[in-house]
């Protein structure tokens, strides 16, 4: 939805991830970018260059925080120190909404730094939803959770991934960061219909989209964020847009990062689908 409670009633367009190789270009040339997504953990530090760059970016651009280590799906409670640092950053960036992944990744205080898939059970959904609510209440900012790409499924799962995602966000009353590339990657790895996934989630809760490229191996697809977006992912994005209406969209490009202009051009390809959507609306 263009503006909803899950993205702080904002109407953001197409953004790109803020990455170190582009700092000089952005700060010196000040390109017109609707918004930047930052990886929260990269700026949850006490000083130095990262925060200086962030402050310069904040002077001129809108920024949304995206986290990789809240681990709402881990069995252990939320890390209070982590949350406190995150809140300090939220206050600094004034992010209108905050995103992290619906996954787990830590056990007994040890971190994998990975986004591990959850068993799709009602019990796991309850744990994740409770933690999301706790985080939102502490951080005082809307939260949207992202579906992760995955390479494994559990025997104990009681439902499909999209049913699990829906269950969690309904229980937590939070938003969805719908990563259409992740849906595509998982659909190929697990053999499901990605359109069924998109049709199965509550569209009104989608706060933001992610699009990205991936790498294809002989037996599976890996979510590498190191290529342009492929056509089937654009088609899925178009279909998802048809369900949600125009929604803040962000291109992720995290490895083999090309020039800023190339990344931005790739992101702006999303415009043609948004324009098509608008044209269809007008025609209707």
């Amino acid at each position: 939805m263009p503006a909803n409670v899950f993205n702080g009633h904002t109407d953001f367009g197409i953004g790109i991830g803020l990455r170190v190789p582009h700092y000089d270009h952005i700060l010196s040339r000040k390109p017109a970018v609707d918004w930047f997504e930052i990886i929260s953990e990269n700026f949850m530090v006490d000083g130095g260059q990262p925060l200086k760059v962030l402050d310069q970016i904040l002077e001129q651009y809108r920024v949304v925080q995206h986290g990789v280590s809240a681990y709402f799906g881990s069995a252990e409670p939320l890390n209070r120190e982590h949350l406190k640092k995150l809140k300090r950053l939220v206050q600094r960036t004034k992010t209108p909404w905050l995103t992290d992944h619906l996954c787990w990744g830590s056990v007994d205080g040890r971190y994998t730094h990975d986004l591990l898939p959850m068993p799709y059970t009602f019990a796991a959904a309850r744990v994740a939803a409770r933690k999301i609510r706790q985080a939102r209440d502490f951080l005082e900012v809307p939260i949207a959770v992202e579906n992760v790409s995955s390479y494994a499924e559990f025997h104990v799962s009681e439902m499909a991934e999209w049913e699990f995602l829906s269950e969690v966000v309904e229980q937590a009353d939070c938003g969805i960061l719908l990563d259409v590339n992740n849906i595509y990657v998982s659909s190929r790895n697990h053999g499901f219909d990605p359109f069924l996934y998109v049709n199965g989630i509550p569209a009104a809760r989608v706060a933001q989209f992610h699009i990205a490229g991936h790498a294809k191996y002989e037996k599976y697809i890996l979510d590498t964020h190191d290529h342009p977006v492929i056509d089937p992912v654009w088609k899925l994005y178009e279909h998802a847009l048809g369900r949600t209406g125009r929604t803040a969209t962000l291109l992720e490009w995290d490895a083999r990062i090309p020039s800023f202009d190339e990344v931005h051009r790739e992101a702006l390809k999303a415009n043609r689908f948004i324009e098509n959507l608008d044209a269809r609306k007008i025609a209707a």
Partner: protein, 278 residues
Amino acid sequence: MLPLAPGGGMRAGAPSGRPMKAVAADFIKPSRRLTSFERLEIYNRQYWFRLKDCLYDDYPGLRAVLGDRRFERLACAYLARHPSQSFSLRNLGRRLAGFLESEPRWTAPHEKPALDMARLEWAHVEAYDNEAKPPLEAESLLAAAPARLRLKLQPHITLLHLDYELDGFLIQIRRAERLRTQASNALEERRSRPRRGLRRRLRPKPLFLAVHRHRDAVHYKRLEPGQFRLLSALQANATVAGACQAAAGAGAIPGDFAARLKSWFETWAALGWFCRLR
């Protein structure tokens, strides 16, 4: 996380002694193309690639001292002993120097320069993004009584006493890395060339350093032994008078010592090294 097998795949046996194939099959569904073992292996491999890559990026100097292969073996051993306990990969190397002290076999016969380099590179990480508190002005120092005054150094400062002159070496290495990264971001080109020429230039020579941040850039400032003793004493909570005594050392205090002290404090205050009176 279970270390990888020598060939780079997941180990065939679980720590319990059961075959990993059976363990994986217990909780992971196979797909049309992959067995449960192969699906779990993707995560096992990604874990090690990701964490080793992080150490690879944070320790270019140690890589240059050891060479890539030995560095990789060291990284695996270190991560197996000290898995990440922080939400941030920034902290991954926090215990590396301690690990090298306790298990020098991973760096033999370059134990000392390797340990020095690990300490210097961790100090670099700390200097890069640790807090900078509001600095204390030189005037406030002059007004206080040295016998009672205790100063705190900025959290981004690390004082190092090294056995090798590594500062110039590391600056060269980091510059070369930066140029290489700017030339290409391609992953295939990440592996560095052997640095035998550079390594041969390493000679044992005591070095006192303050690794700190100034105007958002990390610097390695060489210190005289007396300066090092003074700053170390301040860090250890000595009064300014006590720290100055420590700086003078056991020998006779030279006649111009007071003038030198004044000049040191002026420089350090100008660099913003003192952050508040205690």
